[in-house]
C-alpha cells in the first residue's frame, strides 16, 4: 500500500520494532505524543491504495467520451471519503459534459473550497456560471478577496501568527535585553494576528452561516411554503446558486437576487457551505 503520510508510517514502524523488554518510558512518551499530535491535527488520512488507479480509470472513461461512466467512477471515489481538488474538478467536468451544470457548479465549488487559488477551477466555474440563466448568487468583491484562502488556510494563518505572538512575548520574558528590539516585531505580528483572526472569523461566519443551495434539476420551482401544494414563488434554473435562509424537514428556504423568497425541496438542490 502506497503511503503518502510518512508520519503515520513512522509511528507504526516504531511500534513494531520495539518489544516489551525494549520499551522505555521515553520511547513510549514520544510515540504517544507524536500519535496524539497527529490525531489532533490530521485526523486519520488512510485511504485505499488503488485510488490513483481508480482515478486514472475514470479519466480514461472521460477521455473516451463516456461521461456518465466517468462521473459515476469519480463519485465512487468520493464516496470513500477521499477528496482532492483534482477529483472534484474532474467530476465537475464530467457532470458538465452530461448537461448538468448544477452538479458541475457544486463540484467546482467543492474543488474551490480545497484549492481556492486554482486558476483552472475558477475558469471552469466561471464558464459554467456563465451558462446559467435566471436568478443566481453574485459574490461581492470582499467575499472574492476572502475566498483567496480556504477556511483551513485562514485557520492555519491565524494559528501561526497567534503562536508567533506568544512565542515572541515569551522570548521577551526570557531575554529581557532583547525586548526593545523585539517590540516592533511583536507589535507587527500581533496586528497580523488580529487581522488573520478577523479574516478567520468572517470566513468562518460565511462558511457556517451562509450556505448556498445550487439547483441541480432542470428547472426548480421555489414555493411560498415548505410543502408541494404551496404557491409558486419563483423559478430557478439548473445551476442557479441561491443563498439559504432557513431549512425545515426536506425543504430549504432560499432567496433570489431580486429579494424574492421561496422554498425548494432538498432533492432539487445541493447545499454547500458558504465560500
Amino acid at each position: 500500500m502506497k503511503n503518502n503520510f510518512p508520519y503515520l508510517a513512522c509511528g507504526r514502524r516504531r511500534k513494531k520494532s520495539l518489544n516489551h523488554s525494549q520499551f522505555k518510558p521515553r520511547y513510549l512518551g514520544s510515540y504517544w505524543i507524536l500519535s496524539l499530535l497527529s490525531a489532533l491535527v490530521f485526523t486519520g488520512k488512510v485511504f485505499a491504495a488503488d485510488l490513483p488507479a481508480d482515478f486514472n480509470a475514470a479519466n480514461k472513461l472521460y477521455a473516451e467520451g463516456k461521461f456518465a461512466a466517468a462521473a459515476a467512477a469519480y463519485e465512487k471515489i468520493l464516496q470513500t471519503g477521499a477528496v482532492s481538488p483534482a477529483l472534484w474538478f474532474n467530476y465537475g467536468n464530467a457532470e458538465f459534459k452530461l448537461g448538468r451544470p448544477g452538479r458541475a457548479i457544486a463540484a467546482y465549488r467543492q474543488a474551490e473550497l480545497l484549492a481556492p487559488r486554482d486558476d483552472e477551477v475558477r475558469a471552469n466555474l466561471d464558464f459554467v456560471r456563465n451558462q446559467v440563466t435566471g436568478p443566481t448568487l453574485h459574490e461581492s468583491r470582499w467575499q472574492d478577496w476572502l475566498g483567496t484562502l480556504s477556511l483551513n488556510e485562514w485557520t492555519m494563518l491565524a494559528a501561526v501568527t497567534f503562536w508567533l505572538t506568544f512565542m515572541l512575548l515569551a522570548l521577551r520574558q526570557i531575554q529581557p535585553a532583547w525586548s526593545p528590539r523585539l517590540r516592533g516585531l511583536t507589535l507587527g505580528v500581533f496586528v497580523l494576528t488580529i487581522l488573520s483572526c478577523g479574516g478567520l472569523g468572517v470566513a468562518a461566519t460565511i462558511h457556517f452561516s451562509k450556505p448556498v443551495a445550487v439547483v441541480i434539476e432542470a428547472e426548480a420551482t421555489a414555493r411560498s411554503g415548505p410543502f408541494a401544494e404551496a404557491q409558486d414563488a419563483f423559478k430557478a434554473q439548473n445551476g442557479a446558486e441561491l443563498p439559504v435562509l432557513d431549512h425545515r424537514d426536506n425543504w430549504f428556504q432560499v432567496a433570489d437576487g431580486s429579494g424574492r423568497i421561496g422554498w425548494l425541496p432538498a432533492r432539487q438542490v445541493e447545499v454547500l457551505p458558504g465560500a
Binding site: L40, V41, T43, P52, G65, A82, N124, L151, Q173, F227
Partner: protein, 616 residues
C-alpha cells in the same frame, strides 16, 4: 372608538370644570357644557359589538378566473390580517377599505380587507374559518365553499355559429410520432372581429402525458373567416419532446385572458359610438380539446450499429486540419450537423475506425435558426492526435439518424481525409482550449471548459474544518500556557533578584538539603569528624540565615545573645546547645556509631524545622 372616549374623556371634563370656576366667561362654560353633553352621549350610547364576516363575491367560477374574498370587520380595525393558505388557491391581498356611518345616533365603522383568489386547478375548495383578534376579542369567521370548474372547449357548432367571442385550438402536425422525437404542436387563439383589444394571456393548465414541453413562440397573426364572422388568429408553436411509447395525450390546455368588447347600452349616437366606444373589459377562459396520439418505438430492424439516438432530418459537413503533422500533433476535426430535430441532444457517435488516434473530449456549439430551437446547426470540434507514423488517413466519418417522416434510418458518411504523419521523438500534449488562449489585450471568452486534470494530487479526507476540531482548538492553548509559565518564571526570578534574604533563604535551604545527604553518607561510613564538621557548618548557615548574619560569625554564643531575645522556645535553644556541644565534643571523642550519628541527623532536622518557623 367608544372605549377611547370613555377612557380619555372624563379627566378632560374635570380639567374644564376648573376653568369654569375661574370665571373666564359664560361662553366658555357653554362650550364646555356642550362638549360634556356630547361626551355623555358618546359614553351612554351603547357600543355595537364587534363582528367579523368573510364572504366571496362568487362561489362558482371557471379555472382561469378570479374571485374576491372580503373580510369585513365591524366595530374595530384588525392589526394584522394574514392571507388564508389554501392549497390550489393563490390568494393575494388586494386592498383595504373603511366605511363609517351614523345610524340613529350610533356610529358604525366597517373595515374591509379584500383578497384576490385565483384557483390553480379545478375542484371544490374550502376556505377555512379564520380567527382574528379584534380589540381584544377573538372573532371567528365562517368557512367558505368555492367550486372551480374546468373550462370546456367550444363545440364545432358554436364556432360555426359565430357565438364564441374567443376560442382556442390545439393541433399536432403528425398523427404518428416516435419516442425521442422532437416536434412542434400548434396552438391557435381565435378572437372575434368585435374584440377591440386583449391582454394578460395566461395558461392555467397545460397537462401532457408522455411529452416534455419545450420553448414556445408566437407566429404572425392573420385573419380567418369562420361561418359569417371574421376572427383574428394568434398562432403559437410549442416544442414537444416525446418521452415514451404508447398512447399519449396532450391537453386540454386552458388559458385565461382579458378582452375588451364594445360597451352595451351606453346611449348616445350610434354613429359616434362606433368610433368613441371605450369598451368594457371582460375576463374569459379558453380551453382546447384533448389530443390523443400513438407513439411508436424506433424500429429495431436495420438500426445501424453506430446509431446514437439522433432523430430528425439532417445533413453533415466534415473538415479536418492540419493534415500534415507529426505523431502526437493535434488535428481538429470539425463536424457540422445541420437540419431539424433536437440539436441540443445530438452527440458524436463513436468512431471505431479511429483506433490509431488519441481522442480528446469534443466541444460543441449550437446555432438555431428558429425560435423553437428545432432547426439549425450543431458544430462539434473534436481534437485527435495520430499515435504512430503509419497513419495515412483519417478514416471515413459516419453519422446515423432516424427520419420520422420516412420512418427509416439514414446514414451520412464523409469520405476519408488523407494525412501525412511524420515520426518524432517526444511529442507534447495538445492544448485544447485554455484560458491562456486569450490575448493579452482582448481576452476572448473560452468556448468550453478546461480539460480534466491528469494527477489526483494530495488526498485529503472529508471532515470538519480545522477550526471546529476540538483537538486543534485545545492545541492553541499551548502557546498561551507556555507564555504564562515563562511570565511566572520571570516574576519569580525578578523577586529573588530583588530580595537578598529570600535568595539566601533558598540557598540555605538547598545547602541544608545537600548537607543532610552528606551527613547520611558520613553516618553510614562512620566518618564522625567529617560528620560533625558538616553539621557545624550547616548549623552556622541556618542560624546565619535566620539571624541575617554571616555564617562564619555564628558560634554557640549567639544562642544566648540573639536567639533567646527573639523569643525562641527554650526546648529549641536546649537542642541547639546540645548540637553545638556535640560538635565540640567530637573533637575529643571522634569515634561514634552510625546509629548515634543518625539520631543526631534527626535532631538536626527537627531543629532546622523549628528554626525556619522563627521570624528574625
Amino acid at each position: 372608538m367608544v372605549l377611547k372616549l370613555k377612557v380619555f374623556g372624563i379627566p378632560r371634563l374635570r380639567g374644564k370644570g376648573s376653568l369654569h370656576r375661574s370665571g373666564r366667561g359664560w361662553n366658555l362654560a357653554r362650550v364646555v357644557a356642550g362638549f360634556c353633553l356630547l361626551l355623555f352621549w358618546a359614553v351612554v350610547t351603547p357600543a355595537r359589538a364587534a363582528s367579523f364576516t368573510a364572504s366571496l363575491d362568487n362561489d362558482t367560477l371557471t379555472l382561469g378566473q378570479s374571485v374576491t374574498l372580503s373580510l369585513a370587520f365591524e366595530g374595530g380595525s384588525p392589526q394584522n390580517v394574514p392571507a388564508p393558505n389554501v392549497p390550489g388557491l393563490q390568494i393575494n391581498q388586494a386592498g383595504t377599505s373603511q366605511n363609517v356611518s351614523w345610524v340613529n345616533g350610533a356610529m358604525n365603522s366597517t373595515v374591509t380587507v379584500a383578497f384576490s383568489v385565483t384557483p390553480q386547478r379545478a375542484g371544490d375548495f374550502v376556505i377555512p374559518a379564520m380567527t382574528i383578534d379584534l380589540n381584544g376579542q377573538r372573532l371567528t369567521s365562517q368557512p367558505l365553499q368555492l367550486r372551480v370548474v374546468q373550462p370546456s372547449a367550444a363545440s364545432a357548432a358554436q364556432v360555426e355559429s359565430g357565438s364564441q367571442v374567443a376560442f382556442m385550438k390545439l393541433t399536432l402536425p403528425a398523427s404518428r410520432i416516435y419516442a425521442g422525437e422532437t416536434t412542434a404542436a400548434n396552438l391557435e387563439i381565435y378572437l372575434r372581429d368585435d374584440v377591440q383589444n386583449f391582454g394578460n394571456l395566461q395558461f392555467t393548465s397545460t397537462p401532457v402525458d408522455g411529452f416534455v414541453l419545450g420553448k414556445n413562440a408566437s407566429g404572425q397573426r392573420y385573419r380567418k373567416q369562420i361561418g359569417n364572422r371574421v376572427y383574428t388568429v394568434i398562432p403559437i408553436s410549442i416544442a414537444l419532446t416525446v418521452t415514451k411509447t404508447g398512447n399519449l395525450s396532450l391537453g386540454p390546455f386552458t388559458a385565461s385572458m382579458v378582452i375588451v368588447l364594445p360597451a352595451q347600452n351606453q346611449g348616445g349616437d350610434a354613429f359616434f359610438n362606433q368610433f368613441f366606444n371605450p369598451g368594457q373589459q371582460k375576463q374569459i377562459t379558453l380551453a382546447t380539446d384533448e389530443i390523443n396520439v400513438e407513439s411508436s418505438p424506433l424500429p429495431a430492424q436495420n438500426a445501424p450499429p453506430n446509431f446514437n439516438g439522433a432523430i430528425g432530418q439532417y445533413t453533415m459537413a466534415v473538415g479536418a486540419g492540419p493534415t500534415n503533422v507529426t505523431v502526437g500533433d493535434p488535428i481538429t476535426v470539425r463536424i457540422q450537423i445541420s437540419g431539424r430535430g433536437d440539436l441540443g441532444s445530438l452527440t458524436l457517435p463513436n468512431q471505431s475506425a479511429w483506433h490509431d488516434f488519441t481522442l480528446y473530449p469534443p466541444t460543441s456549439r449550437v446555432e438555431t435558426t428558429d425560435p423553437l430551437g428545432l432547426q439549425g446547426t450543431k458544430t462539434f470540434e473534436q481534437i485527435i492526435a495520430p499515435q504512430n507514423p503509419d497513419v495515412r488517413e483519417l478514416p471515413p466519418f459516419s453519422f446515423c439518424y432516424f427520419d420520422p417522416d420516412t420512418g427509416s434510418y439514414q446514414t451520412l458518411t464523409q469520405p476519408a481525409v488523407a494525412l501525412a504523419v511524420r515520426s518524432v521523438g517526444a511529442t507534447p500534449a495538445p492544448t485544447i482550449v485554455t484560458s491562456q488562449t486569450a490575448g493579452p489585450q482582448t481576452p476572448a471568452r473560452p468556448e468550453d471548459i478546461l480539460p480534466i486534470k491528469d494527477h489526483l494530487g494530495v488526498l485529503d479526507q472529508t471532515g470538519p474544518p480545522l477550526v471546529t476540531r476540538p483537538g486543534f482548538l485545545v492545541l492553541q492553548t499551548a502557546p498561551v500556557l507556555a507564555w504564562l509559565a515563562v511570565v511566572v518564571w520571570r516574576k519569580r526570578t525578578h523577586r529573588l533578584a530583588n530580595n537578598p534574604r529570600l535568595r539566601r533563604q533558598r540557598q540555605v535551604g538547598r545547602l541544608i538539603r545537600e548537607g543532610l545527604n552528606e551527613l547520611r553518607q558520613f553516618a553510614t561510613a562512620n566518618q564522625s569528624d567529617e560528620f560533625f564538621a558538616t553539621l557545624f557548618r550547616l548549623l552556622q548557615e541556618q542560624l546565619g540565615e535566620r539571624l541575617d548574619s554571616p555564617a562564619s560569625s555564628i558560634t554557640e554564643a549567639v544562642i544566648e545573645e540573639r536567639l533567646a531575645p527573639l523569643g525562641a522556645p527554650e526546648p529549641l535553644l536546649n537542642q541547639l546547645r546540645d548540637l553545638f556541644q556535640l560538635c565540640n565534643q567530637a573533637r575529643y571523642a571522634p569515634i561514634r556509631g552510625s546509629a548515634e550519628l543518625n539520631s543526631v541527623i534527626g535532631q538536626f532536622e527537627k531543629v532546622v524545622r523549628e528554626l525556619r518557623e522563627l521570624t528574625a
